[in-house]
């Protein structure tokens, strides 16, 4: 294989434990009485960290050419950011409900 370096055992298992730890942290947080928005934000930040760990080490994007990273990930992130534009309406929708059964 062409990879000069890949994650060694030590890294793989630390990432694994890191992911399990973050999961436990998420579950604990779910039982705190936080407002939904706060909890959503915190959980999403943790999930993005988990996703980044998986992409970087398990999918070893960290060990690929940087060009692969700089073309794929920004494209995906750009699409996701654009999609958030739809939320401008959904919050509005709640105030404009009309029909009653």
């Amino acid at each position: 294989m062409e990879h000069a370096e890949t994650a060694g055992n030590k890294i793989v298992f630390s990432v694994w434990f890191g992911l399990l730890g973050l999961t436990v942290l998420e579950v604990i947080l779910a039982y705190r009485q936080l407002p939904l928005e706060t909890m959503f934000s915190v959980l999403m930040v943790l999930s993005v960290i988990k996703a980044a760990l998986i992409i970087a080490y398990f999918m070893h994007l960290r060990y690929e050419q940087p060009s692969l990273f700089v073309t794929l990930i920004p494209a995906l992130v750009f699409i996701l950011i654009m999609m958030t534009a739809i939320f401008a309406d959904s919050s509005r929708l709640a105030h404009m409900r009309s029909l009653v059964q």
Binding site: L93, M96, R97, S98, L99, V100, Q101
Partner: protein
């Protein structure tokens, strides 16, 4: 062949522009307060677009006329003076300035209709669109609408709007099949649909809005001319889409008062 192309293209350009400029087919006359600004903006865009259209088409025609290759010809090709740079600059400046101009003007018309709330003394009318008819509801003296119960709609009993008579807000509501409004008075429509997506389009008033089931969408305008206008559904709503229409009647204040009293007596 290049010369023929040039001639045909010139004819097409001339005829198209001439027809636009003759205004043989043009907007219906404005009958609302904001319509004039909109027409003005259209004209501005039109002048900008027409200049671009004529220059591009005639340029293409001229090049096709002039640069055809003749047999055995040895003339060298010529690169466009200055290369791509000046064309890029031209596009950036011309289109860019047009965009800035239009965006500023356009924002005003759009903002007047959608960002600003309707005047406080607006006449509120609720609209219920369904396959394939519009119904209108006036709040009556109490100025309040009761909720729309789609489950209670029963056309055989004349309950077109799903009114629950026990609702205090619905007691004096007036339901009509025609939209009548007094002239020069702001109107706020509250658009509802009971089944499909519909459209509410009155060309003379320069208003259009999709009606989306599940949402009550407000739309406000001020009619300025007495007359009877078509309200067309302009969002595909099913097999009878083309038959779905109603009338908007703009009346003098006295006529309107008479009309609303008459309608109230019919409830």
């Amino acid at each position: 062949m290049g010369k023929a192309f040039a001639v045909v293209l010139t004819i097409i350009t001339t005829v198209s522009v001439a027809i636009f400029v003759s205004r043989h087919w043009w907007f219906p006359e404005v009958a609302s307060a904001h319509g004039g600004a909109m027409d003005h903006q259209f004209l501005e865009t039109f002048v900008g677009a027409a200049i671009g259209f004529i220059l591009a088409q005639l340029g293409l025609a001229a090049f096709a006329w002039k640069y055809g290759e003749r047999k055995g010809e040895t003339r060298p090709i010529r690169i466009f003076p200055g290369g791509a740079k000046w064309l890029v600059v031209l596009a950036l400046v011309y289109v860019g300035s047009e965009i800035i101009l239009l965006e500023f003007v356009g924002q005003k018309v759009w903002a007047a209709m959608y960002f600003t709330p309707p005047a406080a003394d607006s006449l509120q009318v609720q609209v219920l669109a369904g396959q394939f008819a519009f119904y209108f509801r006036y709040p009556g003296p109490d100025g309040k609408f009761g909720p729309i119960h789609t489950g209670k709609i029963d056309e055989t009993k004349g309950n077109f709007f799903g009114i629950d008579p026990s609702d205090p807000g619905s007691k004096d509501d007036i339901v009509t099949v025609e939209l009548a409004v007094p002239v020069n008075k702001p109107v706020e429509l509250l658009l509802n649909s009971k089944d499909m997506g519909h459209g509410f389009y009155v060309p003379e008033m320069r208003i259009q809005q999709d009606i989306v089931p599940g949402m009550e969408i407000p739309l406000h305008f001020t009619p300025t001319k007495i007359g009877k206008y078509d309200i067309a559904c302009n969002q595909l709503c099913g097999l009878g889409h083309y038959t779905m229409r109603a009338f908007l009647e703009v009346m003098s204040e006295e006529d309107y008062q008479k009309w609303i009293v008459e309608q109230a007596s019919l409830q």
